[in-house]
């Protein structure tokens, strides 16, 4: 009963239920109005942020082989840990837009080629050194040098020169790019003293916490940074524990060993949500599961074959059976409503007749082979089997080959002409399209070469008029959907879970899971 009552009380404080309705519910549970009111007051107090305590987080993705060097961060754990000790210039704001971190402000020249960032003053690194514009410059140099191993190299390429002027940092671009602030929110670009050239993995930055224990792939402990310039962070201590096994991670939350976890398997999320003291949070994001065809390899070089396969996939069924509803249907573009300049277009649906029409029109396409593996996205082999069945109703036969997880990213993805994969998405359309749909992109994993599309992408990048830009992206989405090699059946939601030992969850946070990994800092321990 207590848990039901606290559930309703939580809804009142969140504004989802009226006070009158709450009292009615409480009476139905046999609670007097006076007692219910007291309880409500207590709950409201628990909603006020409280300082102190320890928050423990069950993380996923970390390995013994990781490094604290932000340039090499390649998984959820490494990214989340770098958010503790480090900060970028700019960060995604919780509900869209840009938030200032180590840049106090920025401005662009009219042609969007010269960008000036004013560096925040009075900020100290955790080693006591003051932050200067030179540190920012050196950091950017480390990520863009000839011999860098940084994962941010791709987004640093468009920069022609960088310099500092007093407390400002200036970037000159080769070509206009209205999205540069979004690019600089990249999780690799943590500002380090002297750019981290001496010791990139020292874990020294300006972040709200200071690392006190680092055991790669096992555990990270951080204490609150007493000299932090901002007001981020309620708990005194944060403990990130790597629990890669899904069942173990959920069990650790259920038994109270950790207070929050990310990546709850959709299959069991419904069950876990019913457990007392645990809340499952569903956040839609730009991540999507894909079937990708190489547009330059037979039989996929024929757009009718591509269209046949696009009409032959049952998106609703896949969303229901693979994601258990924790997601939304895709429309064969990598863009969904989580992007700032999104325009809705007509939803392509499962249509065996159209699939058959296009397949017959294409002539003899031969046998089609789809390669898949469990790590290309969770449930990918099952999704491939569903695809096989839905195509069969259109009279198209599909062979499915199960590949080992090991080596999938080097031997199958971006190598074989038709396979399953996933994309985590990017903060802006420009970045997503430039990463994987531009003819010259390294990860053009659909081998999509379309001159018109390329021209529009470059033009949109320099367009500062938002309405015009939105229209350009809408047109580009149509091209990808009608001619591209991407079959995107669904966008996967982030599924996180927290225990009622912590409060302060913010719904619909942009970026990655666990409130873009800021949940441990923006939530607090309930008294």
């Amino acid at each position: 009963m207590k848990s039901q009552l606290s559930y309703y009380a939580g809804r009142v404080t969140a504004g989802l239920t009226s006070r009158r309705e709450f009292l009615g519910r409480a009476a139905a549970l046999g609670v007097t109005a006076a007692a219910a009111n007291t309880f409500l007051a207590q709950t409201a107090r628990a909603q006020e942020p409280q300082m102190g305590g320890t928050i423990r987080v069950g993380m996923q993705g970390g390995a013994t082989t990781d490094s604290l060097d932000p340039a090499l961060a390649a998984n959820a754990t490494a990214t989340a840990v770098s958010r503790l000790w480090g900060e970028p210039l700019l960060e995604l704001a919780p509900h869209g837009g840009i938030e200032y971190k180590l840049a106090e402000s920025y401005e662009a020249s009219a042609d969007a080629k010269t960008w000036t960032f004013k560096i925040r003053s009075g900020v100290e690194f955790s080693n006591g050194q003051p932050l200067t514009a030179d540190d920012v410059l050196r950091t950017m140099e480390r990520h863009s040098g000839e011999d860098t191993k940084s994962g941010a190299l791709g987004i640093m390429r468009g920069i022609s020169s960088m310099r500092t002027e007093g407390e400002t940092f200036i970037i000159e671009l080769d070509a206009p790019n209205a999205d540069l602030p979004y690019l600089l929110t990249d999780y690799h670009l943590m500002i380090q003293p002297d750019g981290g050239f001496d010791d990139p993995a020292a874990g020294i930055g300006t972040g709200p916490y200071v690392m006190s224990e680092v055991d790669m792939g096992v555990r990270f402990v951080a204490e609150k940074n007493p000299n932090y310039w901002g007001d981020l962070g309620y708990a005194d201590t944060l403990e990130y524990i790597v629990i890669n096994d899904n069942t173990a991670r959920v069990a650790a939350l259920q038994s109270g060993q950790v207070d929050m976890i990310l990546r709850v398997p959709p299959r069991t999320a419904g069950l876990i949500a019913r457990a007392p003291g645990i809340t499952v949070h569903q956040t839609s994001g730009p991540g999507h599961y894909v079937f990708i065809m190489h547009c330059n390899t037979a039989p996929f070089d024929n757009n009718d074959v591509r269209l046949a396969l696009k009409y032959g996939i049952n998106r609703e069924e896949m969303l229901e059976k693979i994601l258990f509803g924790y997601g939304s249907v895709g429309n064969d573009t990598p863009i969904n409503a989580s992007y700032p300049l999104y325009t809705e277009m007509e939803q392509r649906s499962f249509d065996p007749d159209k699939a058959k029409f296009h397949f017959d029109k294409a002539g003899d396409a031969g046998q089609i082979l789809l390669r898949t593996s469990e790590n290309s996205f969770p449930g990918a082999p099952d999704a491939a089997a569903l695809f096989q069945q839905s195509l069969a109703t259109a009279g198209i036969s599909l062979d499915v080959e199960r590949e080992p997880n090991d080596g999938y990213w080097s031997e199958v993805w971006n190598v074989q002409p038709f396979c399953t994969s996933y994309w985590g998405g990017r903060p802006t359309q420009d970045q997503m399209y430039s990463t994987a749909y531009l003819s010259t992109a390294d990860w053009n994993d659909t081998r999509f070469f379309n001159e018109q599309f390329d021209q529009m992408l470059v033009a949109a990048r320099g367009e500062l008029d938002e309405a015009k830009r939105t229209q350009m992206y809408a047109d580009m989405g149509k091209i990808v959907s009608d001619e591209g090699g991407l079959i995107c059946p669904m966008f996967n939601d982030w599924v996180d879970a927290t225990s009622d030992r912590v409060a302060g969850w913010v719904e619909d946070y942009k970026g990655f899971d666990l409130m873009n990994y800021y949940a441990p800092m923006k939530m607090w321990v309930v008294g």
Binding site: A63, T65, T247, A252
Partner: protein
């Protein structure tokens, strides 16, 4: 005792040769696996430039044979090298993980071995009656289930539902006091015990039953000795050899076969360490782990041989 010393020397030499062969096998194995270190480290987000830079840094452009002999030379000098991925000294990071694995294996063995032998004796004492059948049924059931499933079951019932033990081993810290550490590993130890129990218990039962057919056992019974005394004093010593063999085999399994249990319970042992490095193709670490696992396996089997030789007068004094 000279023949025994000679036998021991032979066994040890053979063991070292085996280790050498194992090191070649492991090296070849890591070469056959698709993908290379640089690709595995950078993952899906690898750009061609970053890949080339990393390959150069890691010395992957050297021929395989050169890399193998460089490594072998280092091992003879006691240097296991540094991990390609993190740049850490392997001997140091591996040492800490190995101690954790040994800690887990030690406590599992302390519980499992005496329990298995005792249950074996009990099963013989009550042969074909309900205690024998119950012991057989329970141990066979536990060995038939995959260990990760036993792990999940215990985690759910004892960890989440009843809350008797922590559901995962994340509370384990090498520097914590021994009670905290034991509490943290309670469930992994239980799983390991269940997994190795059946094999040892049934071997004990079978070996003793075999001896129980002998004429001298009948004599002992006719003398009027109690059944348990007959088993303990007369049958057990003569069936030590096969029992020791199976015990050693299971001890070796407790050290080298705990990968799954360590991963499921998030225990920072060698298993997790090895898995992470295999998936990143970090050859020096995989080789070091493989070498240690092989050494443990070969060493324990050698020990089993030696003990069964010493326990058997016929092998001790060959004609």
């Amino acid at each position: 005792m000279t023949p025994v010393v000679k036998l021991l020397a032979q066994r040890i030499a053979l063991g070292l040769l085996l280790l050498f062969l194992v090191s070649i096998l492991i090296f070849v194995g890591t070469l056959i696996l698709p993908g290379d270190v640089a690709q595995s480290i950078l993952g899906q987000s690898a750009t061609p430039e970053a890949l080339a830079n990393l390959r150069q840094d890691l010395g992957l452009n050297e021929p395989a044979l050169t890399r193998y002999f460089d490594w072998l030379f280092g091992v003879f000098q006691g240097d296991l090298g540094t991990a390609l991925t993190s740049g850490q000294d392997i001997a140091e990071s591996l040492g800490a993980r190995f101690r954790n694995t040994l800690f887990l294996a030690f406590w599992a063995a302390i519980i499992a071995v005496p329990l298995a032998v005792f249950l074996g004796l009990l099963a013989v004492r009550y042969r074909d009656r309900w205690p024998d059948k119950l012991i057989s049924a329970v141990t066979l059931a536990s060995i038939s289930l995959p260990e990760f499933l036993i792990g999940y079951l215990l985690m759910f019932f004892l960890g989440v539902k009843l809350r008797w033990f922590p559901s995962t081993a994340i509370g384990y810290r090498p520097d914590a006091d021994v009670f905290t550490r034991l509490e943290a590993i309670a469930l992994p130890v239980a799983v390991l015990t269940l997994v190795v129990l059946a094999h040892m218990m049934r071997m004990t039962r079978a070996a003793i039953l075999n001896v129980m057919q002998s004429a001298y056992i009948e004599t002992a019974e006719l003398k009027g000795l109690s059944t348990f005394r007959v088993i303990w004093k007369h049958a057990f010593p003569n069936s030590i050899a096969p029992i020791v063999n199976v015990v050693m085999l299971n001890l070796a399994y407790l050290v080298v076969g705990v990968v799954v249990v360590e991963v499921v319970f998030v225990y920072p042992g060698m298993g997790q360490y090895l898995v992470d490095h295999v998936s990143k193709r970090d050859v020096p670490v995989v080789q070091a782990c493989g070498l240690i696992f092989a050494a443990v396996y070969i060493g324990l089997n050698m020990l089993a041989d030696v003990i069964s030789i010493l326990a058997n007068p016929r092998l001790r004094h060959p004609k």
